[in-house]
Symmetry: C2
Subunit: 337 residues, 2 copies
């Protein structure tokens, strides 16, 4: 049987596990051009919250009965397409289900020798590429500059922070829980990491960045962004990657534009979607940094598809550390790096 999560309703501002239900359905036999898959890892990513909120740019609006969107790493178990053979490991937007049958054209074959399979949706995949594009193209860190990264314990933020450090910047992170902040400093080598839950967060941020902020990799929006803009230096760059603090809340006003005007600062929204062709180049660099010990990564792997909604809510609440995945099935021995 294919176990598939469905949307019970289009979620309101507060997402709940009861917005989803898990159903057993017959596995569909592939037609010509299709392949039948066995899901191994579901990738949980903040952008999925955007889709649930009906935001523009994430395909068709969600409807009751829909399978929640999301990338998964899967094994081909039956193929009616010449491009894929049984046993191939593939990546695709196949959603929260255990045995999808899909159009082969929507899949990409992965090379398991490049790294552990899970890293293809983490440090060696879209989150890593997102971090690299936003940091190198938009934040443009220089030696000695101060770079701020919000959600610094996440799959994107942790890589962005370390890439800034590799470029010689002094890196300050922001996360939720104080113990998570300590772990971020310890594992990713940041100069400091602040909890945005502290009542005097803006003052602490000012003290942690005594010369101001030269670049800000923004994963969150909200109060962190308001405090960060107030500390921008002349010519500062802000890479706007996500607004996880504002999802589902409609039009949340932004900080005053006078900070950008007074500091000759720039803010640029971006997405990895326009940069996927650069994945091979990024992957090569990241693999070298990992070998050199300059780029570390963490994973939060939740076993069993039954826990997908719970794991997704934990991700959105900031309770996870590193790349968040659901392990649906064991990695085949042939696909171990």
């Amino acid at each position: 049987m294919n176990q598939r999560w469905r949307l019970v309703r289009v979620p309101g501002p507060t997402l709940a596990t009861t917005d989803f239900d898990l159903v057993d359905e017959a596995i569909r036999a592939p037609a010509d051009g299709e392949v039948r898959l066995r899901s191994i890892y579901l990738s949980l990513d903040p952008y999925q919250r955007h889709w649930l909120a009906g935001a523009a740019g994430y395909g068709a609006a969600p409807r009751p009965g829909d399978t929640p969107i999301g990338r998964a790493i899967s094994e081909v178990v039956e193929s009616r397409d010449a491009r894929f053979a049984v046993g191939d490991i593939v990546l695709g937007e196949t959603g929260w289900q255990t045995h999808p049958t899909v159009d082969a054209a929507r899949l990409t074959r992965l090379d398991p020798t490049l790294g552990p399979l899970s890293t293809h949706v983490g440090v060696l995949g879209s989150p890593g590429l997102t971090a690299w594009v936003g940091m190198v193209d938009l934040c443009r860190p220089q030696p000695g500059q101060t770079v701020l990264v919000s959600a610094a314990g996440g799959a994107v933020g942790s890589v962005a922070a370390q890439i800034a450090a590799i470029h010689g910047a002094r890196v300050v992170g922001v996360a939720g829980a104080p113990d998570k902040c300590e772990r971020i400093v310890r594992e990713f080598g940041l100069a400091a990491c602040l909890s945005h839950r502290d009542a005097d967060f803006p003052a602490r941020l000012a003290r942690a960045c005594p010369d101001g902020i030269d670049a800000y990799f923004d994963n969150t929006g909200g109060t962190v962004t308001a405090a960060a803009w107030a500390q921008l230096r002349h010519g500062a760059r802000v890479a706007l990657c996500g607004l996880v603090a504002e999802y589902g809340q409609g039009d949340v006003p932004g900080p005053s534009l006078r900070h950008l005007l007074a500091r000759r600062a720039s803010v640029t929204g971006f997405s990895v979607r326009e940069n996927l062709q650069r994945l091979p180049e990024y992957r090569q660099r990241a693999a070298a940094w990992i070998r050199d010990g300059r780029l570390r990564y963490a994973e939060h792997i939740v076993p069993g598809i039954a826990r997908a909604p719970e794991a997704f809510l934990a991700l959105l609440s900031g309770a996870t550390f590193g790349k968040c995945l659901v392990q649906v099935a064991a990695v085949p021995p042939t696909a171990a790096a």
Copy 2:
């Protein structure tokens, strides 16, 4: 005597002519390295409102008794500096007074043969350079794209709009009064100009930009900017030049950042101050465009230093058209272009 405007008090959120008073003082004899001037034109510019509000980046905060800051075009009437001779026409930050005696190092000699004297603080001066830098470097208009310009009847906006049109863009302006909008379309050749005072301005803007906005030259902030961000196209560029709608109001929240994220759009604050070395290049281009009839300019010249505060308030309220100046004295026949 030197007639000099003084600040009676540091103005609150609403500026009034009674915040200033005009005094007669003895003309000061120049010391070594100084020159004595006769002011001809005072340049009125929105950035002066920033200084009055105590904003960062405009020198020392205003105090009662201060002369309001501002550029002026003047004639040298006595010189104790080898760089300047009697009769030279100079530009300097000499403020609202008729006969300043100032440090010669703060002055720039003007070439009256380049154009009418008033244009050295208008279309051939800082406002024109501001428009050129913001439009060409930041808005980067392409043929067929839609470019929006707020305060399109002003010294900066009118030039920015025409430069966008010279680059092949379809240009939509925004201004206050409907009759001003009509005049902007007629004199500067815009595709359309909308009044932000219309109750249904956001809907009118959407109709005037059916394909969305590729670039926005923002002189105002406020409700115009909120409506503009909601219409940005994928990859849109916003050049943030001024926030005249928000002066003196402290931290006015900006529009939702989700517009920038969803559209992969960028906003960049800038100032002419970092670009003054490009004035000769701009001036050459602008002079050629004026000769070709592709760049037109308008001036609002108020006679008599006694009317400086009144003229400045008219500028801020949107009641003027084109470059706003106070004529303090006649242009010497030797300085006529």
